[in-house]
């Protein structure tokens, strides 16, 4: 449940991965500041304040979007494309968290304006480390607009 400002938008359809990710980032972002979208449509609706999130305040945007590429309905790259083409969401850094190391995916991500690409390691220790670094960088080190 989200109450309070959404810091991070996590787009992931695998519940296991959701839990693991939330667990990993909880050191710098409590779960209540993370909005989980289960697919691309929900993600877009949320980010663009459309559909079921039509009433949301568009000025309240997450500081970071973590997104998997393999999503039902609209997949990650499409969402990325939409996000980066919309002026309201263009500025939000998007970090792709994907199990795929396919270079095409990587290339396409950057081509569409994605800010970072992280491969989800199977080894949870490695994932924890990656998450820490991620959080430190994007939420603390990196300057986000409007913050």
């Amino acid at each position: 449940m989200v109450d309070g400002p959404v810091e991070i938008l996590l787009v992931e359809d695998n519940l296991n991965d959701v839990e693991l990710t939330l667990h990993a980032i909880k050191t710098y972002c409590p779960s209540n500041h993370v909005k989980v979208a289960r697919d691309g449509v929900e993600a877009l609706d949320f980010a663009l304040c459309t559909g079921e999130y039509a009433g949301r305040d568009p000025r309240q945007q997450p500081k970071l979007i973590l997104m998997d590429l393999k999503l039902p309905r609209i997949d990650g790259l499409q969402v990325l494309h939409r996000l980066k083409n919309d002026p309201h969401t263009r500025a939000i850094p998007v970090v792709i968290l994907s199990s795929s190391s396919d270079p095409n995916d990587v290339a396409e991500t950057y081509r569409l304006g994605g800010n970072s690409y992280i491969v989800k390691p199977v080894d949870y220790d490695a994932f924890l480390q990656a998450a820490r670094v991620l959080g430190t960088y994007w939420l603390q080190v990196n300057h986000l607009p409007g913050v």
Partner: protein
């Protein structure tokens, strides 16, 4: 042919009549001018002469007249002086010495004063009373007569000049001359009663030589020829009183008959006072003026020799004549010169013409003599009159023999039959060319072409000139040509290829047998038709365009057309042609070959369709393959993705559990959880390897020039981490550049080196050698280690997928690494193998395809 025609020619150049006329006129003009000038001068001269003579004559007349008058006067004084008469009467009556002396003295004074020759006193009886000089003059009958006359008439009587024959006596004139005197008789009159009576006569005798004649001579001018003549008529002649100048005529010696009209003396003698031209006593032409001396019977002639008068005239005339002559001569010379020149030119031209004529004649002669053709001159019966040398050699007869023959005899019997016909035609047309066969002396025949002409000469004689050419060779050549023609025609007709000949409009002029056979038509149907008529509709258009495009060139490029055969079948023919344009650019002929390419085309069509089919299939297959690949890619992707997810979960939650529930977990539980985690990692690696392996075959090979050394270094860098602080000695030998996909080659080296590092981990001092050997033009790349090695027995299994020759707990790994290496090397077209020895080490070798390398 030895005669050359001669025509009479003028020997000298034609006189140019106009020129001559002009010359003549010129000369005449000159003459006329000369004459005119002469005439005028002559007239002038005559006039001057006349004037001169007139002047002289008048002067002389005056002189003479004066003299005469004076003389008479002198005498008349005596007459008129009565004193004298009385004294003399006294004397006569009383002749005493005193009176005698007185009278004598008076007579002497008379004599000396008047320079008389002699003076006499005569009595009335005629007796000489006194005379001075005393020896006196002769007193002759004349004297007495005249004295008597004087006495009677009581007038002075003049005796005129009369000759006296005397002995040669010197007179004042010098040379011996006949003496002439003239007497005056002056009667002495004394009065008696009322009259007078003569008592005596004084006779004075004058020598004209003294003063008269000299007066005549002296002239106002010194003229060499001038002569003054005193003339008195004397019967039938004119008597010249004074001595002649130019001839030794004494006074009163020259008598000129009056009828000699030419002599001016006669004019004076006749009493004419005139001027004119005449001929004097010398026979010399003279100009003369005549006068009459008044109170006398004398006439005066003053004459000048024509020559003298005309001397200047003659001079001038001479000059003029000379000039005229000179002009004449000059003119004549010029004329002659011109004439000569003309003559010369004429002759030169004549000569040149003659030379040319000669040359031509020679030339003609040579031509005919040495001509290659037989030249015969025949009469109207065809008898040979002349033959050239060639005729001799051709027929084998000698010149003489030929001259006895007729052309008919030389012709073959067959040809002879045609002669009358030829002759008629020849006569009609004047010239004829016909072929014939002639006989040689040895009886052999040879074919000739005869070119004959009729020649008509003045007099109506007709000749035939024939030029005969031995056409044996020509006939042979014709025969050869016919033969050749026949052969070619055969080739043409029987050729297996279809020939057709077309004109500039695309109409068929000729086709060969093969054409007709193939098309099924007969020749009559085909010829004259347009080629397009035999084509199918589409081809007709193609043909029309092709034909008009190629018309202007010399080659007709290949074109395929569909021809319709008689039986309706359509065959495809390939037409190639050559175009020959007529020289005048008007016509053209198109020689074509038609090749039946129907089968070929069908075959081609089939092949094409098959190829298309193949292409299609290939494209299909490729598409299929691509689709399959894509599917596989997607499959692998999703597989890996989906397979990994649960692995993450397993690992993740295990980890969390260990972290968060560490107190509740026994060491064994923890150990199990760790095993669980390890296995998930293993599986993850497997999945990665499988993915990589499968991707490998789908990945396109991007071969390029690479430096393996660089790749080796990069690989070692990546593998550094896996060395775990071990001391490994790397020996990197020089590896020459090669042609390979860099990323794949890197994969190869990573795998091989990783293996080398892994399998030598148990050795205390590991040495890993990398390099390249050159063996039989092959480059063998190797990675050698001194690790655990392997049993060569199992070498074939080495490169199988998931095949391992060692236990996992000894050496971890999934058994995919070498499979990947093999896959990559095989894709490069190379070979990979390994050699090993247990516990000694292993050497892995590979080659890359050399043939497609570019250096």
């Amino acid at each position: 042919m030895h005669r050359t025609p001669t025509t009479p020619r003028p020997r000298s150049p034609k006189l140019s009549w106009p020129m001559a006329l002009i010359f003549l006129l010129l000369m005449l003009a000159v003459l006329y001018a000369g004459n005119a000038s002469r005439g005028s001068y002559r007239a002038e001269l005559e006039e001057a002469t006349r004037e001169r003579l007139d002047a002289i004559a008048d002067l002389k007349v005056q002189q003479v007249s004066a003299w005469l008058t004076e003389q008479r006067g002198n005498v008349e004084l005596i007459l008129d002086n009565p004193l004298i008469a009385s004294r003399v009467w006294d004397f006569i009556q009383y002749p005493d010495p005193g009176k005698l002396a007185e009278t004598q003295a008076w007579l002497e004074s008379l004599h000396s004063v008047h320079q008389y020759h002699s003076v006499m006193l005569l009595s009335v009886e005629g007796e000489t009373l006194l005379a001075v000089p005393p020896e006196g003059p002769a007193v002759d009958e004349r004297t007495h007569r005249l004295a008597a006359q004087a006495i009677v008439s009581q007038q002075v009587i003049f005796s005129d000049v009369y000759p006296v024959e005397e002995q040669a006596s010197s007179t004042s004139t010098g040379a011996a001359s006949q003496s002439v005197y003239m007497d005056f008789f002056a009667p002495l009159l004394v009065p008696e009663k009322n009259a007078r009576t003569s008592i005596g006569v004084v006779v004075v005798r004058i020598d004209p030589h003294l003063s008269l004649f000299p007066a005549l001579i002296t002239g106002p001018t010194d003229s060499p020829s001038a002569e003054v003549q005193l003339v008195r008529p004397d019967g039938e002649a004119a008597l010249v009183i004074n001595p002649a100048r130019h001839a030794p005529y004494q006074p009163l010696e020259l008598r000129i008959p009056m009828d000699d009209d030419l002599q001016p003396s006669t004019w004076a003698g006749k009493g004419e006072e005139t001027f004119g031209e005449g001929v004097d006593y010398r026979g010399v032409e003279v100009f003369a003026a005549t006068r009459l001396i008044p109170n006398s019977s004398w006439g005066l002639v003053v004459k000048l020799d024509r020559a003298e008068i005309y001397a200047p005239f003659f001079e001038r005339e001479l000059l003029t004549n000379l000039l005229i002559s000179a002009l004449f001569i000059a003119g004549a010379l010029v004329a002659v010169l011109l004439w000569r020149q003309r003559e010369a030119k004429f002759y030169k031209e004549e000569y040149q013409a003659e030379v040319k004529r000669q040359a031509l004649s020679e030339h003609l002669h040579y031509l005919s003599r040495y001509a290659n053709d037989i030249i015969l001159l025949c009469d109207e019966r065809w008898n040979i009159l002349e033959a050239n040398d060639r005729a001799v050699t051709a027929y084998g007869y000698s010149q003489d023999e030929l001259n006895y023959k007729s052309l008919l005899q030389l012709s073959s019997p067959d040809s002879q039959a045609a002669f009358p016909r030829h002759t008629t035609e020849l006569d009609k047309k004047g010239g004829l060319v016909f072929q014939s066969a002639h006989l040689r002396k040895d009886g052999t025949l040879f074919p000739v072409e005869c070119s004959a002409r009729t020649i008509e000469v003045e007099g109506g004689r007709k000749f035939y000139q024939c030029i005969l050419r031995d056409i044996t060779e020509r006939k042979q050549a014709e025969e050869r040509m016919r033969e050749s023609e026949r052969r070619f025609r055969q080739i043409y007709e029987l050729a297996p290829v279809r020939y057709q000949l077309m004109d500039g409009e695309g109409r068929l002029l000729d086709v060969n047998q093969a054409w007709l056979n193939a098309s099924g038509y007969d020749k009559a149907t085909v010829l004259g038709k347009s080629f397009g008529d035999f084509l199918d509709d589409a081809s007709r258009r193609v043909w029309a365009a092709h034909f008009s495009a190629s018309k202007a060139h010399t080659e007709m490029p290949n074109v395929e057309l569909g021809m319709l055969c008689r039986n309706g079948m359509c065959v495809i023919v390939a037409l190639t042609g050559k175009i020959i344009h007529e020289k005048d650019g008007e016509g053209m002929q198109l020689h074509c070959i038609l090749n039946d390419v129907t089968d070929q085309r069908l075959a081609e069509e089939q092949t094409r369709r098959m190829n298309e089919e193949l292409e299609r299939r290939v494209t299909e297959r490729t598409a299929q393959l691509e689709a399959a690949n894509k599917e596989l890619e997607a499959f692998s992707y999703s597989v890996s993705h989906d397979l990994r997810a649960p692995l993450r979960a397993i690992d993740g939650f295990s980890r969390i559990m260990m972290e968060e529930h560490v107190q509740e977990l026994s060491p064994q539980a923890t150990r199990y959880l760790n095993l669980v985690r390890e296995n998930t990692h293993t599986m993850s690696k497997l999945i990665d390897n499988l993915l990589a392996f499968s991707r490998l075959s789908r990945q396109p090979l991007k071969k390029q020039r690479v430096d393996p050394e660089e790749i080796i270094n990069q690989s070692l860098e990546i593998l550094k981490a896996s060395q775990d602080g071990r001391t490994i000695e790397f020996v990197i030998n020089p590896v020459p550049p090669c042609n390979a996909d860099p990323s794949l080659l890197k994969q190869v080296y990573i795998n091989l080196l990783s293996n080398a590092i892994k399998f030598s981990s148990k050795k205390p001092s590991a040495v890993i050698e990398v390099g390249c050997l050159q063996e039989n033009s092959e480059k063998i790349y190797y990675v050698k280690d001194n690790g655990v090695g392997f049993d060569m027995q199992y070498a074939p299994k080495l490169f199988g997928v998931f095949q391992r020759l060692h236990r996992v707990e000894d050496y971890e790994g999934t058994g995919v690494g070498l499979a990947i290496v093999q896959r990559i090397i095989h894709r490069h077209g190379g070979r990979v193998w390994a050699m090993g020895e247990i516990n000694e080490g292993a050497t892995f070798c590979f080659t890359l395809e050399e043939t497609s390398s570019h250096g």
